[in-house]
Subunit: 113 residues, 2 copies
DNA sequence: CATATATGTAACTTTTAGGTTACGAATATA
DNA sequence: TATATTCGTAACCTAAAAGTTACATATATG
């Protein structure tokens, strides 16, 4: 199973991978345990894990023949940065709207003259 | 071109669609104008626009034969909610770490007795 | 009215993500 | 040492996203 190199957006596009991330908010689990909680085969889950790791969403620590997976912040940060960019857009848009509103209220209420 | 119904994660997984969203932070544009800024054919862009709209990332206002696209907050909010969930995870993890550190420093420094 | 422009959509092809089974390597255990 | 367990990977198949071209429709414009 060749593991394609996907960016963070493509990585979280898959529902199974998002579900794995959800699982890992509870605890660290080895790969077989994670696979037991999915309908698909173990190699399929193994591939998802590999993809999650290379995109920086999880880290893996080897303990004997087992490999324990934990969440890693890196991938999430990259996503958050993208979202934040658009958040800034909305905020500046709101600000523009407010200043337009202020101007209008001034014009519609010319107290002097 | 059948437009598949994709969730917000799948929608932003495509680089071209993210690029379109970036464009729309500058201004509103009609579909042909957007298409001119891409290598791919106009119908391909048209399909991306349709996907972005049905996922709540953009709104479209008809003006005669033209259709102007603007950013819509809905899709972004859905994404942000997902990220926020994991942000809460990191914060609580940090908190746990802090309390562990506090306990340790207490134990390693038994001032009384 | 005739023509140009903006757009949607149907039909089709190609690429690839995501799944499978089969196998091998490394480690734990009896 | 023999066996069971954990995991990775190669080879392969399938479904669907993402692109294309061709065509139809609606609106603007001369």
């Amino acid at each position: 199973m060749a593991t394609p190199n996907l960016d963070v957006f493509q990585v979280i596009a898959d529902p199974s991978r998002r579900q794995i991330l959800q699982m890992l908010t509870k605890d660290s689990y080895n790969i077989n345990y994670i696979a037991e909680n999915f309908e698909m085969s173990r190699p399929a889950v193994s591939k998802h894990i590999s993809i999650l790791q290379s995109a920086g969403f999880i880290t893996i620590s080897d303990q004997g023949r087992e490999r324990y997976c934990s969440l890693s912040q890196d991938g999430f940060i990259e996503l958050r940065n993208w979202i934040d960019y658009f958040d800034a857009f909305w905020r500046s848009k709101l600000k523009t709207l407010e200043s337009v509103m202020n101007k209008k209220s001034k014009n519609s209420n010319p107290s002097k003259k």
